[in-house]
């Protein structure tokens, strides 16, 4: 059986600069996958490759049997929604912003939102909990609330695959957990497939079903958090001394840092 989302021998990058080489990943429907790896390991390039911000040099990315590169832009936006780290929506209300997620479905000469658009935006604002903020301006929101609005907008695109770039960066633990719990709920309730870049190894281990560890533009290891988050691989990739243990409540791996004085 063909898998839901396949990345085959994918290479991309900037001309003459850093290049991502021969990435080969398969993701099942409803999987919550985290991409981890140190700064400069190619996570962001990979992200841009999937969202088609960067052209592929070789290989293909296939979603439900159709290559992303071959879809037209509207079709792609109906299948793949992207939430970036900085939202920068400025002086528009949350509702206006979330309604922008309906653009891929809007007919050419339709200037106004349909009842359906409004209902869908309302639904996802409720689901993400930003409906109480809907008349506030985006730039008046906190970082966590902006991310939630970003997710609501992405959901309004009704995508098959959700792509997130470090949704928990710069957030306190309340918001980190709130956002990741929400993503788990989306996976459960909407059967949404999620691919996320994440820096925090503990959060990655706690929430993701599958982890992809990247190193120098290649995939070093793919597997469950228990398989990937072991001290040998982490120390080799991050060049940092760590200790891994199991979270006594969830049974997921936890990573502890060891400072220089203690380790020597």
């Amino acid at each position: 059986m063909d898998s839901f989302f396949e990345i085959r021998h994918f290479s991309c990058g900037y001309p003459g600069h850093f290049v991502l080489t021969d990435i080969d990943i398969e993701i099942q429907k409803g999987d919550f996958t985290g991409i981890i790896g140190p700064n400069g390991s190619g996570k962001t390039t990979f992200f841009k490759g999937i969202s088609c911000d960067l052209p592929a040099i070789s290989g293909s990315i296939v979603l439900k049997g159709k290559a992303l590169q071959l879809m037209n832009m509207k079709e792609r936006a109906q299948n793949l929604a992207v939430v970036t780290q900085n939202i920068e929506a400025g002086s528009m209300t949350v509702e206006e912003y979330v309604l922008m997620g309906r653009f891929p479905y809007r007919k050419k000469f339709r200037f106004f939102e349909t009842q359906e658009d409004l209902a869908i935006a309302e639904k996802y604002m409720k689901l993400t909990g930003v409906d109480r903020l809907k008349n506030k301006y985006m730039n008046a929101l906190s970082g966590g609330e902006q991310q939630l609005a970003g997710i609501a907008r992405a959901l309004a695109q009704e995508p098959k695959l959700l792509l997130l770039d470090e949704p928990t960066a710069h957030l306190d633990i309340t918001h980190q957990v709130q956002i990741l719990n929400l993503i788990r709920r989306l996976k459960r309730e909407l059967k949404l497939t999620v691919l996320m870049i994440i820096h925090d190894l503990n959060l990655a281990g706690e929430y993701c079903d599958t982890l992809v560890m990247m190193e120098n533009g290649c995939v070093r290891k793919i597997g469950t958090p228990c398989e990937v988050l072991n001290y040998e691989d982490i120390e080799a990739v991050y060049k940092t001394v760590v200790v891994t243990q199991t979270n006594p409540v969830s049974g997921k791996p936890a990573v502890f840092l060891v400072s220089e004085e203690v380790s020597t």
């Binding site: 109906q78 002086s91 922008m100 200037f111 939102e113």
Partner: protein
């Protein structure tokens, strides 16, 4: 959402009332006073002076003000949208500089005596050449670099203004006078063909811009994010760049360099009604039209029987109004 649409309708209604008032006031002010009795006469007798003044002199001028004001303000709104930069106006891209250089060449070479159309033609040609320069110089590896487009436009305007100064320094005083007069802008155009071209192209531009109103709205999020929403931003930016440059080129060729309309009016409209391009484009067009009709009325009555260059009035009135509004309002200028 519903509330917002009512706000838009109210805003348009107010603008339309202002528009009608401005047009009526402009029709009835000027050197020749027209009383109500004469107005009645004018409607009955097509040979009367009142009728001639109204339809042959003032109405064409108002139509031209509406077209030029609307076109410049619309281009300003569009360009600020595609460049995501609040300081961009139609003249930033060097279009006016190119047009002015074209006009200067026509005047210095004496070609302006050949036909009454040679000045507008040269102006338009100058604008077109600049437009292509800016466009092709800023294409990099198939993509369009927005920032280099902006910089190249600014540089081209410096180059052409220097070239114009060179021409002015080597030519006769008379020629210098006509170049300066043209550069300051004037709506005193009596050729119906040109007025008609200006009117149709600005209305056409308004219509075409509405086909791209959704992409413009998506661009408020930035180029990449608009692409993620399925918007072909490269194509949008290209088409809108050409559209607004052509509108500016036509406006400059017919009426000279009338500054400030394209910068100030879109910002004022943004402050009042927000940044949704569905209302902003039409609002800017109407606002620009009202503004220029008012400025032209002032320009031709304030030192009557003489006339001030329209650019002087738009600069002073527009600049002052803008500074006052901006310093009083709590909101800052925002684009997205």
């Amino acid at each position: 959402m519903r509330n917002r649409y009512w706000k838009w309708i109210l805003f348009l209604a107010v603008l339309l009332v202002l528009f009608v008032v401005a047009v009526v006031v402009s029709l009835f002010s000027g050197e020749i006073k027209i009383s109500l009795v004469q107005l009645e006469e004018a409607f009955c007798d097509k040979q009367s002076i009142a009728y001639t003044v109204l339809t042959k002199i003032r109405l064409p001028r108002i139509i031209l003000s509406v077209s030029v004001g609307g076109a410049l303000s619309l281009s300003g709104a569009i360009l600020q949208g595609i460049y995501r930069n609040p300081l961009v106006e139609p003249y930033t891209l060097g279009i006016s500089g190119g047009a002015a250089l074209g006009i200067a060449i026509a005047i210095v070479s004496g070609l302006n005596a050949v036909t009454f159309l040679s000045l507008p033609l040269f102006g338009f040609a100058g604008a077109l050449i600049t437009l292509f320069f800016v466009y092709f110089l800023s294409i990099r590896r198939g993509g369009l670099s927005i920032n280099s487009m902006l910089l190249i436009g600014v540089m081209i305007s410096f180059v052409s203004s220097s070239a114009m100064m060179f021409l002015m320094s080597v030519t006769t005083t008379e020629n210098v006078h006509s170049i300066v007069f043209w550069v300051m802008g004037s709506l005193d155009e009596t050729n119906y063909l040109l007025i008609r071209i200006a009117l149709y192209s600005s209305l056409g531009g308004l219509f075409l811009s509405y086909l791209f109103v959704q992409p413009l709205n998506a661009l408020r999020l930035g180029n990449d994010k608009a692409k993620h929403l399925g918007i072909n931003t490269d194509l949008t930016i290209r088409i809108l760049f050409f559209l607004s440059s052509l509108l500016t080129g036509i406006a400059v060729a017919v009426a000279g360099v009338i500054g400030f309309v394209g910068l100030v009016i879109p910002h004022l409209v943004r402050l009042v009604i927000g940044n949704d391009y569905r209302i902003l484009l039409l609002g800017s067009f109407l606002g620009g039209a009202v503004f220029l009709v008012c400025c032209d009325t002032i320009a031709r009555t304030i030192i009557s029987p003489n006339e001030l260059p329209i650019g002087v009035i738009t600069g002073i009135v527009g600049g002052l109004v803008f500074i006052i509004v901006l310093s009083r309002s709590k909101s800052r200028i925002k684009l997205n």
